[in-house]
Amino acid sequence: MLDNLQLLFVWAPIINVQIILEGIFLGAVFALSAYGLALVWGVMNIKNLAQGDFVIMGGYISLALSNYNLSIFIILPLVMIIMFFYGLIVYRLMIKRVIDQDMFTSLLATFGLSLLMQQVMNLIWGPEVQIIDLDLPVYDAFDGFVTIPSIKIISLILAAVLSIAIIIFMKKSRTGQAIRATAQDPRAARVLGIDTDQIYAFTFSLNSAICGAAGVFVSVIWVLQPFYGITYSVRSFAIVTAAGLGNLPAVITAGFGIGLFEKYVGAIIGTAYEVAAPVSMLLIVLVFRQISMRKNRQAVK
């Protein structure tokens, strides 16, 4: 570990740039998926344990589409549309019925969904890892020490554009306002004539679409495997727990934070801990929350 520290800060500090960049790219994708999770959680009080699997599913659909040699700019909206309708179906068949139940139910129901999705994806695409290589140029800087594949930059920009689009949508459009109203007080919203069921359906489907987008990025930057979903789910939960539900800037910051944390833990302590890092982060956040709430003699509910 000492060697790693020395390497990072004394001998070749330039590689910090690479690590930071990796952390940011990682964080961007998580932040997206975390935002979707926060949306569903805040509006419908559903904790979607299958979030990561939605992401992977988006990735697989993107893989299937890539066989037609489409550009990523076309694949992205296509995947989002397909995932939107998938989310709608899941909502109508399943989620609708667990909204009013106790919290654990929604968790477990989505876990069952996660299991189902993983296994179906496994049956369709097999347990081997799949990748999409778009063969786009790679930029390098600092004498080759820092390399950035252009696909990562494109993904980052697209993710940012998407986030901004969603924010504007939530703020300005009528549906967006209806969603926020429902989140604040469903009964009042109903009284005011908002069809909360429609809103819930839309919100869940929107989340599904957002996950699909995140999945597209995952498929072109990293690898897809039917069982990787849970790691994305855990990271999303960690971000949402740390940032709180309503706060988009906080979600984004937390997303980047976790990405950086993961990469630095890997660089300093060892890659063996890279998966344990976001999970531990989740625990640490929960503990801190607990401590701060204990001051008010409350519990983290």
Binding site: Q18, G126, V129, G144, W222, Q225, A272, A276
Partner: protein, 405 residues
């Protein structure tokens, strides 16, 4: 009215009925010798489990159609009974017991992967059931003193130690070589690592990066970033197909130029197809090559086995060595049955132990511990056009690896 007592009785009845409906198959029935195998048809090893099963089945077909197995003057056909172990060791052990106790199996073919074999070997050993396995390469399988376990493949410690040997050969001062390595956290990769570390210590080389990659991580960027800063002389990666795919992609992205790069599972991950530019120069170990100049009377040369297998399974463009070694395992059984000339388990076990033959897969001769000591691992290198060249000495290697990204 339902009460728990009735439920208990009901459960017993269900189990009773199920037990009657399970067919009991004796090891030798009529003119068929039934071998048993717990194999991964689902789960993370499913792809290779399937390659293995096909290898077994192909050999069974060829042997049966070439006159079967002759024991005690009678001719027998071979058959295999399979159970899906779902790539879970505990399940594999359970199924092995079921094969032996319930189905009466007396001879077994191995499962896929070292982990599964490690779970099943104690069971077959306990029951005195000879098992010839073709997919569990971990060397620690052969230090436990098992008498009934035999493996036709080379053990895992040899996979990448050859790369270290090649590195030493191509340098004037082996002890000055600096090694970077990354291994996945799973039993097989850790075994490969042990072999590499042994070789490194033999030459007195220095390890500058020694990373362990979590099983569900698809990102090696941290390791590669460090490698860029530390400039090692050789990079070694082992992490099944996922490791190879991730490594190839990120080596490409990060424009890594290290003089030697060696990794396992290149063929399985198809790196030369997906990342032709980066894969140029990769050293890849393999248990078997289809251009091998070995042959036998049952399957012919390696090339002929290859053609025959492809004819049976046209979807394969290149046949993975997992299938080849599976066929070899079945062939060992045939030879052993005929040599023992009876079906007594201990006699067959001794016959297997005494097997010494050349096959399309390579030479087979078992050490006292049960592993095959007559067959080496082959090292191949991917060239710029995506083909695999056999590397037998350092001179055959394109060195150093310099790719213009």
């Amino acid at each position: 009215m339902i009460n728990k007592f009735m439920l208990g009785v009901g459960a017993s009845l269900v189990l009773t009925v199920s037990s009657f409906t399970t067919a009991t198959m004796a090891k030798v029935e009529g003119d068929t010798i039934t071998l048993g195998s717990s194999i991964s048809l689902t789960g993370k090893y499913a792809t290779n489990g399937l390659h293995t099963q096909r290898g077994y089945d192909y050999a069974v077909d060829v042997i049966n159609s070439s006159g079967g197995v002759k024991v005690g003057g009678k001719t027998y056909k071979l058959a295999v009974k399979y159970y899906d172990d779902e790539s879970t060791p505990a399940r594999g052990a359970q199924l092995a017991e079921r094969l032996i106790q319930q189905d009466g199996i007396e001879y077994m073919l191995g499962p896929y992967s070292s982990g599964m074999t490690k779970a099943i070997a104690p069971v077959s050993e306990k029951f005195g059931v000879p098992m010839v396995e073709a997919e569990g390469a971990s060397r620690s399988l052969f230090t436990q003193g098992y008498k009934y376990l035999f493996a036709v493949l080379s053990t895992s410690n040899l996979y990448l130690s050859t790369a270290i040997d090649l590195a030493a050969e191509s340098s004037s001062d082996p002890s000055s070589i600096r090694v970077a390595m990354a291994f996945e956290s799973d039993p097989f990769s850790m075994d490969v690592r042990a072999g590499v570390v042994d070789a490194i210590n033999k030459y007195g080389m220095k390890i500058v990066i020694d990373d362990q990659l979590p099983a569900d991580l698809s990102d090696m960027s941290t390791t590669l970033t460090k490698a860029k800063a530390l400039k090692p002389d050789i990079l070694i990666v082992s992490g099944h197909s996922k490791g190879a795919a991730t490594a190839a992609r990120q080596i490409n992205e990060m424009k890594i130029n290290i003089p030697m790069i060696a990794m396992t599972h290149c063929e399985a991950a198809k790196v030369q197809e997906k990342f032709p530019k980066a894969a140029d120069g990769f050293l890849c170990p393999t248990q078997w090559v289809e251009t091998l100049s070995k042959s036998d009377s049952m399957f012919g040369t390696a090339a002929e086995w290859n053609e025959g297998f492809k004819a049976a399974h046209p979807s394969y463009t290149s046949v993975p060595y997992q299938s080849a070694q599976a066929s070899a395992a079945v062939y060992v059984f045939k030879e052993a049955f005929e040599a023992a000339n009876k079906f007594d388990q201990d006699a067959v076990r001794d016959a297997i132990s005494g097997v010494e033959m050349e096959t399309f897969y390579g030479d087979i001769k078992f050490s006292d511990a049960g592993n095959n000591i007559a067959k080496p691992m082959f090292m191949r290198q991917i060239n710029a056009s995506g083909n695999y060249n056999l590397v037998e000495t350092a001179k055959d290697m394109a060195f150093p690896r310099k790719v213009a990204y």
